[in-house]
């Protein structure tokens, strides 16, 4: 089963160059059933990544560009009056898809942000007293600009917590850039990308990920990490138990990708920085958070 995901990675990296690690982490995040936050400057391939993932996974993908004047109804949808039938009919907004790309999330007003985040948390939306279930699986991949940029509303810590992982997409290497500048644009390959997965296969994979075992030693290690972050002298925001649960989920998915049905401390360390970066950083930004996450890993002994 996990072989097929490795295939997916190699397919995707044909379109998105130089981003193998990030693609793998993004898939891990989706396998763990979590939402993903990508923070980086515009023009490094965020959108392409999401599009190719959606296509390969066979998910219905929509992109919402967040701006400061975007209203919740623009995202969720709203009641529209049908004069022939004399009643209001709910028109689904772009949120009703399986993979939603929330572009530049931190440019939207807090009200719109929270509408999206509530949908992520509850898997349904309520309009005028009626509740509408969102399709399953439902993922949000949000991108945001580094928080020092002009005209941004930074996400509050409680909402950052809703994202399982945060990623940084770095600039492509010089060689790759030279190739792109010479006119080779892999994005045209996007047209030909075919879905590798059926909906059943994905839910089967999700089920298998949940069955991955976590031994006491590994759980101890994660608890040690949490405890260490709460000690006096540690700079980052203290980690909550939910952060620990996120670590477990992501580590399980990573172990599944490795073809194992149990978690090793190595798995935890692989996903540690993406899972903890935005949680530790808080209002210092994800960059600082990632540094602190690295320090936390370095200073926490792995139990033998």
């Amino acid at each position: 089963m996990n072989q097929k995901f490795h295939e997916l990675i190699s397919e995707a990296s044909k379109v998105v160059l130089d981003k193998n690690v990030e693609i793998r982490l993004a898939i891990t995040c989706l396998l763990a059933g979590g939402n993903l936050l990508i923070e980086d400057l515009p023009g490094v391939g965020k959108t392409t990544l999401v599009q190719v993932l959606g296509k390969l996974l066979g998910l219905k993908t929509r992109r919402i560009q967040f701006t400061i004047d975007l209203l919740p109804a623009d995202v969720i949808g709203g009641q529209v009056f049908h004069p022939q039938e004399h009643k209001f009919v709910f028109h689904e907004g772009p949120l009703f898809s399986q993979l939603v790309m929330a572009d530049e999330l931190n440019r939207a007003s807090p009200r719109t942000q929270s509408a999206l985040l509530q949908a992520m948390e509850e898997g349904e939306v309520s309009v005028d007293g009626n509740t509408w279930a969102l399709p399953r699986p439902f993922y949000v991949i949000a991108t945001q600009n580094p928080h020092q940029q002009m005209g941004t509303f930074p996400l509050p810590e409680s909402q950052l917590d809703r994202f399982l992982m945060s990623l940084e997409l770095h600039h492509a290497s010089k060689e790759t850039e030279v190739r792109i500048l010479q006119g080779e644009d892999p994005r045209h390959l996007l047209q030909n990308v075919k879905a590798l997965f059926s909906e059943n296969e994905i839910s089967e994979a999700l089920l298998q990920v949940q069955k991955v075992q976590v031994s006491q030693t590994v759980a101890n290690y994660i608890a040690d990490l949490l405890e260490k972050s709460r000690r006096a002298g540690f700079e980052g925001t203290p980690l909550s138990t939910r952060a620990g649960m996120a670590l477990v989920k992501a580590a399980k998915a990573w172990a599944f990708m490795e073809g194992r049905n149990y978690v090793r401390p190595e798995d935890v360390q692989q996903i540690l920085v993406p899972v903890l970066g935005h949680r530790l950083g808080g209002n210092h930004g994800i960059k600082r958070g990632r540094e602190w996450a690295g320090a936390l890993q370095k200073s926490t002994p792995v139990p033998v």
């Binding site: 075992q213 401390p265 792995v302 033998v304």
Partner: protein
Amino acid sequence: MIRKFYSQKALAASFVTAMAMVALEVSTWIAIFSFVMLFWKWGVENLNWKPLSRKVTGALSILLLVQTLIQFRTLIGQEPSYTFLLALSALRIMDYETERDHKFVVLLGFVLISVKSLFTLDIYWIFPSALAFGGLWYSLLPSGLPARSKALLKIFVLSIPLAVILFFVFPRFVLPWAMSRGGSPYGEIGFTDEINPGRVAELAANPAVAFRAKISDLPLKKSSDLYWRGSVLTSSRGLSWRPGRPILQTHEERKTEKEYTYEVAMEPTSQTFLFVLDGTKNVQLESNTVLPLHQSIFRASRPISKPSVYRAIWAEAGINKEFPDEEFLKAPPVQGRVSEWVENIKKKNLSEEDRLKEIQKLFAESGFVYTLSPGIYGPNDLEKFLFERKRGFCEHFAGAYATLARSLGIPSRVVVGYQGGRYNPLGDFWKIAQKDAHAWVEVYTNKTWNRIDPTMWVAPLRIIIGAEEFFGLSEEDQRAFARSIDWRPPAKEQFLLWDEVSFWVEDLNYRWTYFLIDFDKSSQQSLWKSFTEYKAGLSFALSIVLVLFVFIFRSLFKQKGLLTEEQVLMHAVEAWAQNQNFPRELSEPPLSFLERLKKEFPQDKDILSRIAHFYDQKIYARMSPEEDAKKLLQFWRANHR
């Protein structure tokens, strides 16, 4: 990395304490020098003062060495070693900058503390020493350690069994210079057996302990009954007296109805006097022979250079009955008004008893003043003392009384020693201080030597309430109360808290000194002897102690006892790798570590893979692996030592 002395509070506090303890023992200039250096360093660290360079401190330390050598002509001995050590410590603090300096300063601190305790074994110094010692240890532990106090406690508990073993088994050496107490050029005022006027008065200003005595078996209960004889003075020069030549007592067996034993624990005096109560028959001193002398006094054969305990046998009827020879009547010719007074009495042809009463009358009724500062008398200023100034101390009264008695034809002698003491109800012992030094008279009447204390008529309070209380009163009060015999010492219930505390500390110090410090070679030997005598009971007790220790250890170091086989295996590999200079970083997962080892040591690839597989299966996958932990461990250990 530059370290600051004063920002390490535990270190600074302990080191300054250690230095202060030693500074009390040296001359003022060196103490002042040291503390100026300490203050300067504080200024350097906190107020950006200019520090002394290493060259200057180096030159200064050589200068100080030279100065010490010039002053004392040696480095061996108490004061020169203190002086140099203190100066050196202060200079090292000035230099304090690096990790290396830190270690050196801690070492110096340990030396300061041990030097202090080599010379002063009093328990009072144990408290600050222990605190300073703990602080120095604390500062040695890495500052990153989260629970430094707990680690310190662990080290302390670990050291207990070793300390106990060393205490009971380690052979004792007597360092000659370590025992030279009181060897300073000035010396403490101690007991001597010559009374020149003013000699005892000097002693009376000294609160140091002379000895402690356990006399609970004896029928003597009041401090006014306790006359500790040290020496007998037989040759009179009027006011001042001298001892005769010591003569060994011939062995005589006297029959008495009942004998009692008491114990005296003496502070070192560097002299041979042993102080005993009236009526003591025999004295036994550990590690030293006792010479019984004429006139019921006892001497040790060698000077008492360390705290010693002697046991004495006392009998109620054991009053000295030796017949006095002519010597006891020799007195210098009396002159002036004294001779007038003597002739006057002689003319009356009174009986012995009445003659003594006449002397008593003279002392009791002509307004003598008992004082520590009677002014200066010459050796034979009897007239000036008796009829003009009338101010004196016990030695004046005793000397004058005995001379008068001899002039009237009654054999008499002066006894010097200590009188009274302070009872410690907690430890049930009497503490006799130097200020209890006293002189009194013995006269030969009715074929026995009888004790007469002229001070009793002049200042009865001194005898009844003891020297400590008496000299605690102001001089006016002393004069006013001196004659009122009704005055009573406070009853036990009225003791103030301070008294309780002082008794308690005094008791602790007594036990500390005599049961811990003086546990020397002979005590060790007798302990081992007693061990062999009580084999069965002893092995039982020892095994209980052993079991207790095991329990304490297990509770302190629990995790050690609860290691699983996999952990033992992994620890073995880690320990081996550590020896190969290839340690596991703490944040490195065990399996990645094994993977790294495999690349580094290809010859061990096989066994490392087996261990990794086993570990992975057992710990992470929670399956029962096909390999056996013990066999793997054996196999590993067989090839990796």
